[in-house]
């Protein structure tokens, strides 16, 4: 029992001594902190990884107004309004409420043209919720949705036909 007693004292002393040596050696290491807003080597947006999930952006010239993203959003933060125009169907609004957005990325997956996607920019905190809504169609303007060129569609159809024919051809000899 007495040997345990003195062993405890010895152990406490030795472990404290070693611990102090470790913490003091850590004090002379270079801090790894990146001082965020103003002391970074480049702007923080540039430092972010290319595919990082921050704000959503829609490339309006290639948006087809298919409403797939609106339907995919689990919390309904995307709101697309379409109107009938003499020239056809037009978008009069494409709003994404980034205050609601939970950055799940479900909207980017069904997009047929890849128009809606994440950008690395994230420093857009603001003092009111209204400012958190990003509007991709300026108010009062109307955007004509992108139409996938007919030629491509024909090619697709042709290739589909060819495939079907090939299959039929493959099937024939057996019959």
């Amino acid at each position: 029992m007495s040997s345990g007693y003195f062993n405890n004292i010895k152990e406490a002393t030795v472990s404290l001594f070693n611990g102090f040596a470790i913490t003091l050696s850590n004090m002379f290491r270079k801090p790894v902190t990146l001082q965020y807003p103003d002391k970074t080597p480049r702007s923080v947006t540039d430092l972010m990884p290319e595919r990082s999930r921050s704000w959503l952006k829609v490339e309006m010239p290639i948006c087809t107004a298919c409403l797939n993203c609106e339907k995919a959003c689990p919390i309904d933060c995307i709101k697309i309004t379409t109107e009938k125009d003499p020239s056809g169907r037009v978008m009069s609004g494409f709003d994404i409420d980034m205050a609601k957005c939970m950055y799940c990325g479900l909207c980017t997956e069904p997009c047929p043209t890849g128009a809606i996607h994440f950008i690395p920019e994230f420093e857009r905190a603001s003092f009111s919720l209204d400012q958190m809504i990003s509007r991709f169609v300026p108010e009062g303007e109307k955007v004509v949705p992108y139409k996938v060129p007919k030629k491509d569609k024909d090619e697709e159809k042709n290739s589909a036909k060819e495939e079907a024919e090939d299959k039929a051809a493959e099937a024939e000899p057996d019959a």
């Binding site: 001594f17 102090f20 004090m27 290491r29 270079k30 790894v32």
Partner: protein, 399 residues
Amino acid sequence: MENFAIHIHESYLYGLPLSVVNLIVMFGAAFVVLLGFVAPFAGLLSFIERRIAARIQCRIGPNRVGPQGLLQFLADGVKSLFKEDLIPKVADKPLFIIAPYLVFLGMFTSFVVLPFSSQWIVADLNVGILYLFATAAITVVGLVMAGWGSGSKWSMLGGMRSAAQIISYEIPTGLAALTAILLAGSLSLQEIIAAQGPHPWQWYFFDNPFTFIAFFILFVALVAEGNRAPFDLPEAETELVSGYNTEYSGMRFLFFFFAEWAHLYVLGAILTTLFLGGWQVPESLLASVGAESIAARILELVFFQLKIYVLVFLVVQLRWTVPRVRMDQMMDMCWKYLVPIGFFCVAGVAIWMMLFPDGVSFVKYLLIAFSSAMVLYYFYKVYRNFKDSRAELELNPFV
């Protein structure tokens, strides 16, 4: 102090009775000391602690408010001032309100007897060291009050723990201090310092093996008394949210932390006074600036502060070195280790004084050599640890 009051009375306020003038001067002095010395010191210490902690954890720490973040504590203080002062519905209101001030009082009245130089001391009480321990006990009352008055289980548990802890650790504190008191033959802090000398072999730390051990006992016991990590059981965040100060907010909350950091300073001052020669400056150095000049007093103050800061640094480092002990381990440590060893040291010093009334210089030099060797070995270990981690060296503290 009294002469100053009489001087004020005779020259400016001769219309008032002397006792009233005395009171005004006393309040004035307390005000000046609190605002001009203690508050900035506690604040600065919080800054230093945060910076050291940050560097140990590979961070930078506060560095935005003022040059290198030096004014961070002012920003924190102003923020706390403007915060809402919440009082829980189930709280025992008078106790809840008065508790932080008692904690504050307990810590800050100890500054009265701290000897900053051979002449700069508010009151050189002939029971100075007893007074220090007595005021530390007021803190317990405050902590228990805060714990009980909050009307919350966590606070209550924190308060109970602090009572158990501080009262237990008063005993090893007293025993370890007793060794220095025995050697000096006085309870007055100034006389204890005067009995030592400026050189290490004149300090009580190296006087004999028993005081050498007593120093470490006092160190551990004072750390425990100040509720500092690794003995911060009363405010154990992982178990008790924040212990006795869980329900506090705003300025009242700040008072608890004020007291904690002030205690850090008092801890350093007690150890320096009892074992490390206090404000003693080598006479050759003192003579070069004139022994009676104000420069000599400032030199003494600087020596006193330097020793305190080394100890404060160790306490801060200890916080980031050792994890929190368990309640039973803490009690074991006090009653099974510190108290018996403390008694052993007191008896040892008494016998040593009887056998060698003039001290043994051989033992003193041996102890100094041993300590120096340990310090050298410590720095060697630090160097080795650093080399092994293959980190980039950064000696600039102002990154």
